[in-house]
Subunit: 487 residues, 4 copies
């Protein structure tokens, strides 16, 4: 009689604390044993010479969503999460994106319908608040957080979704009172809008001008401002997609003076540069994302910031727009850079690209790869210990990596609906050949094996990251906090 | 026959470089000689045992002006500049304050009428731009700068006068193109508005809550943001009325990384603290100004910042509102702190208070006193060499100080129209007993001796401070500057 | 038939990534299984309601060693490691302390004899180089590093052990070439010596003057200097026993600019303050250690530095001197503070004190406790994955904690040979009631259960921390590195 | 009858506060009048179209001195100060250089003999303390400071002159007690010595290796350490010859946190770069000075540091060694870089080179030129108001500049005894055509007009710079200062 439903045998198991040789015993959804020579499994998977790593956690992906610029993404949940599964990602935190005037509750319900129908991997949801009015914050937010939507996303830029400083403060206090985390797209809207206007007025229209459109300073400024708000309210925040050395430095300084600020960067800021925007015609549009791609020296700074803990993890910011009139070029055949949809696909290739850059290239160990792509985002967002690590009781979300498999990336070879990949032509080493989600093989040798809708919603308590420092009194009562240095 | 119209004999002349014994020979408006045993004057003034210092230059005073909160100041030009003269100030830079929708040219003309009618000391004008639209910036600004109004003031807060980030950028570029200087009231409007709303909602209404109303962080945030804008455009800026240690630090860091940022603080931030707001009833309203009074430790930090050059000079921010229904209490008998007019008088006592704090108390020398209250503001704002120093060819704006005269300040003893002074009860040492403006005695032994309208307008080229660093190309053409680290 | 030698059943296992419910299966020395309902053990230990945590790794303890001041420690390996075991520490990194003129090889051999005879827990050795001459570095060091002594300790102060700047550079290069880690006691020797001389000359002799004897600045200065050396050579360093907020800040800044600098603090700097030195008579001598105890605000700064990763772990710096003529007072009955032996015991109580301060008081989670006291020091010093975590293949070094047991600390209740504890009188919550080392119970319910000499030497490859950044060429050839910004 | 001995008519007088049109009236040694159309002079000098500027104050020049490396400088007082006069410098602060074991009093007396015999311009003396033992500090220093030698120079490097940390602290306290200023050559001796040894061992001997011989970090480290000592003792210091961007930044940070630290840079660090060392054969030896020449980016950083006040003035560090066996090459025909005498001539060309770089090139105004080359060094070193400005009562030390005269520098065209100039081949604009020292023309149209020995000693009270911050009690009694954050 079998002791386990599945035993993955003979592999090297990786965690953020190191690697070790062990079999992994799975029963039902769950890892129930790790050990040498575990007893029999109903199914036994040979992992000799392979790495057995936690499934990736991608904490930042736009799926089946209308963007802040009003463009519909190319993926639905099935296409997005199928591609994710093929690339080793078994958990995604996507968005329930409110637009102005909408009921947040309704928005969340609507996204649940979409996700439930299509998701192949497990999912949690950040709620995008484009309209954080008193009703939303007082009447809707508490129940939604309680039901497991414990993180809020705000935009400091984009015409249709941005919040102003007072709304940001209102939301931070509401998050504090409900113990939710706040994630922020931090770029100075005025600077972007002003620069875009000037560039177009002067006839600078092609995609390469998306770089100066979002000057480096728009990131540093917004992060600094956000840190000031976070400090005022004593509410932790996570900065999304840090792209510049200076941005990382502002975060470092804020953390140094006690602000509870966390941050991610994304695959593209570690592996692409602004030079990719310089292409004939509109081709560069494929590399238009916000913040824009930056310099080689920024890549170095961002790796260093991850190493010393100023940034904690790496997401994809998957934002898939086809290179046609439904997506990138929806504004007509000759759009200015301002009209090109912002974003690029990333769910599928995040892990393989980072494995190659980090592990195969010898720059970092398995520990950092697992930490930055799975363990840390799970911990930050309240998904631990179910997700992000292979440990007793955790969900059996496991990738079996062939560390030596070489893959040449091509537009034809990727599986989401975007129709192109910004990494076409690269050859990388290392691939997650078999992927399990809650004990079920969902991808194997390049094929999706699970059905749409088999992914499950992950209600979350807020992660450790959401805890205030306690410097201010819990109720944020101004008189109690009078003595604090803030006033 | 006399060699000079006036000779001030036997005094110790002070400059920002030191002191020396010399007679001062004046002919007409002008200092024409400095020397030992100068020849005869038609009039000879004995200054033995006295200090002969340049008349004060107060670069920040609101006169006959409707405030950003919509309250009319208590002073007209005659009362304000008469009081200034009695306190040793012979030059003032006041404001031509545009309100939204108004022609800036008309606004400037109107203020000229008022100033011409009333001014007893010489005056220049900053133009407050509350509505920096394209017409104002393109059609009006160039001529106004050319006619000598070479500095622009912007507010980042106050409902009726604040500009947003794009307007700030528009104005910085316009200033750059016209070689004007930009001065900024830098506080984060959203933070103030949000905090004010919350405090009042919770019933915290009395004047002491003006402190938390403007949290310290609202200053640091806004200065940092301003520095980012200044760096983006390569346009120098002057930060008004720095009140916190952290604000001074942000300026220091900006200067250190090459941002051309200058700054003043004001008498009140060096000599009063937030404890002054804590008074029975509404009495604290007299000490309500913005930014609010801060801590003793901030005073120390601001002195230090002046010493090491992060701040360059000290102004009064004279903003006189009577403690009655015309001013401080115009919102009725029980206003919340939000409704109390912001500001306090300062033109008259700036020099005596600083002389006492700096020179009489032995903390600094005459050099710093002269530098921070006269030479530096004159230099920064393009008034040198006419104003701010006693040198050959400069205007004969001279104060004869009795360094030992002791004065106890009282509400009855001050001369503007405010009706009170926030310094009542202090005894200070040192007083400018005789004051000359362009060779004319305008104040002597506590009496104004010149007539309303005898002050003259001072058209200015922009000061040295207005020069960009040259890091970017002069025309701020985005393509030329593409290589700069800004993008 | 039993599946395992031992099964610890029903406890909550803790790691630096979280906690989970699992049985722990041990065979021989090793953890071979983690799982739900593991099979039978020959011995089964009930851990219901208990925490099952990795044995502590104390990476900084002086055992059976003549100090830099020439005083023999009170403990031999048996007494020190027995006490350690009772407090839950199963691995210690002690010192092989060279004195000037001695063969390092001989020194290491001698310490091995002592350790082999007495050690109850496992041990690795740092080599203290008091005389890093060319012979030691070229002829002795390579073989010693190869045989598993992969870390070097240097003193920047103490008359008999300190190295000068050139010796420090020589040692850093030798460490780089042999891939060893360098740990440093970083205090400015001149400042200490000078201040000590002056204080005694002025008659300030009692123990409380040990504080000013080592001014705060002596730590910041030395850390900054060390960072400069580390940067020059591109050789990682670990700063020992950081005691001040400023020291932590210097480390943060160095890390931020790319210096590969790591750091520990010690139990006493997190739990005691300089006020403990102020006692009648010589009593304060018990709290004399170097660096000296600091302020409450330093404690806060050090916790924060641990949180944000500037410091990575907490050691004891166990340095046991009896409060009598053999130790603290060996210089006679009326020693000045300069003559009091520096150090305090800490091996036994490090874990219980930190558990209480961190976990019982609710300030941090089990994750941080395990990370800072076991996982991180093991990783930093090349003891992973054998030590510092409970994972498959790791040594079965395990503490079973009763998180609720309350203990009042007393001199009589501690077990090393020091004769006193600086924490007498405190009541703490949480205690490691049963302790296993390589699958053997070595302490149980306050009794040592293993024999002297049962501890094993742990040869080490250098940890991840010893890897240079690669900024300079591997061979540190000046011409190759000419282009680097260092010259 | 003449009113004045000399009247300089019709020129543009310059000061650190600006320029003005005025005649300058001189009687005896002294400026007695400034004015329009001054009365008759016995002698009248036409300065129409010319600039009338204060004579330069060079606060750092080695004259007739045995260097720290044991080489005798090429100049005696006559040759050095004659050359200085021709270049517009009328005041020099040279050194009385103690060697180990010597009486400081005797040293000072000896230098007075030399200076009195040869000096053509006025001179003050810094005392170099190579042996600051108790006798020197207690018995000799007080009288020497009282007799006008109010500044002390210390070396942190150079075998024969360097002091260790304790000696540095002893000297800082002695300076504090005697109100003297301390100037420091701040480079880390160990780093230099170590690097020199390694380079030579590896066969890197030619002059270009003088760059890596003194790594950039040796400057930053030493300045940081010096700042720590200055802060500990609350004694101001002046850092000599800052050469790197990082060095300037360390100073900025020290000043920002309240350390009273001042600094100079030298002509060569603003106008030459390390590329000048790369010459065929030994030619590069001419450009060997310490600190070594650095990068173009350092020049920019140093100008910026002067602008924002982190550095206060520019000296020459005149250290003249002939390019022959008496000087640069005294160690034989094939010296390694370590044996090449460190230094270059600079007294004559400091002002013309800086005038050209600053004023003729349009980068700065006359104000900064005067401030950085005359007014500031005079003020810092207690020579104000006699020296460094043209004001009533000041010494009539005046240069009449032809701002348009173009000069091509050549070895043959310079006038000291060095035999070469590091600037040969440059063409510069602006030259001081006539130079007065205390009312006497000492140089005119390229000819020295005054006799050896006509220069006078300038006893000095310490400048403003020597005043402690007062943070600590005046007597530096450790118990009184116990509360300060230092301990």
């Amino acid at each position: 009689m079998a002791d386990y439903d599945i035993v993955i045998r003979g592999g090297t198991v990786g965690s953020s604390a190191g690697t070790f040789e062990a079999d992994v015993g799975i029963t039902g959804d769950t890892v129930v044993a790790l050990g040498r020579n575990l007893g029999a499994g109903k199914r036994n998977i040979d992992a000799k010479g392979k790495l057995v790593l936690p499934g990736g956690v991608d904490a930042h992906a736009h799926i089946e969503q209308l963007s802040g610029m009003g463009v519909m993404g190319a993926d639905n949940f099935e296409s997005a999460t199928g591609a994710a599964a093929l690339g080793g990602t078994t958990t995604v935190v996507c968005f329930a994106a409110q637009h102005k005037g909408k009921s947040l509750t309704k928005v969340v319900e609507d996204y649940h319908v979409l996700a439930k129908r299509g998701a192949i991997i497990d999912y949690a949801m950040h709620m995008i608040l484009a309209d954080p009015n008193a009703r939303v914050l007082k009447e809707e937010l508490p129940a939604l957080v309680k039901s497991g939507h414990s993180s809020i996303k705000l935009f400091m830029t984009y015409e249709h979704t941005k919040v102003d400083d007072e709304q940001l403060l209102d939301t931070l206090v509401a998050a504090r009172e409900n113990r939710a985390l706040v994630c922020v797209h931090a770029e100075n809207n005025g600077m972007i809008s002003w620069m875009g206007r000037r560039l177009v007025e002067r006839g600078y229209r092609d995609p390469r001008f998306h770089g100066p459109h979002h000057p480096r300073l728009c990131e540093t400024e917004a992060i600094y401002r956000l840190a000031a708000f976070s400090e005022l309210i004593d509410q932790p925040v996570i900065v999304y997609h840090v792209s510049t050395a200076e941005g990382a430095k502002v975060i470092r300084e804020a953390r140094g003076r006690g602000v509870k600020m966390f941050a991610e960067t994304c695959t593209q800021y570690l592996t692409l540069t602004v030079d990719d925007l310089v292409k004939p015609g509109l081709e560069g549009a494929k590399w238009v994302c916000s913040p824009p791609l930056r310099l080689q020296s920024d890549q170095e700074a961002l790796w260093h910031a991850l190493e010393i803990g100023d940034l904690q993890f790496v997401s994809s910011d998957h934002a898939p727009y086809r290179f046609d009139a439904t997506g990138k070029l929806r504004a007509g055949p000759e759009p200015s850079f301002k009209e090109i949809a912002n974003g690029m696909p990333g769910l599928e290739l995040r892990l393989p690209l980072l494995f190659d850059a980090m592990v195969s290239k010898g720059r970092y160990g398995i520990e950092q790869f697992v930490e930055w792509t799975a363990t840390a985002p799970a911990r930050m967002y309240g998904l631990s210990p179910r997700k992000g690590q292979i440990t007793i009781g955790s969900d059996a979300d496991i990738c079996i990596w062939d560390p030596k498999r070489r893959t040449t990336i091509s537009d034809a070879g990727v599986h989401d609906n975007t129709g192109y990949t910004p990494y076409a032509g690269r050859t990388i080493e290392g691939w997650p050949v078999t992927v399990l989600r809650r004990g079920e093989i969902i991808a194997d040798d390049g094929k999706v094996k699970a059905s749409a809708g088999s992914g499950a919603f992950l209600p979350r308590d807020p992660g450790e990251a959401a805890k205030p420092t306690g410097r201010l009194s819990p109720e944020f009562d101004e008189t109690r906090n009078f003595g604090a240095k803030l006033y």
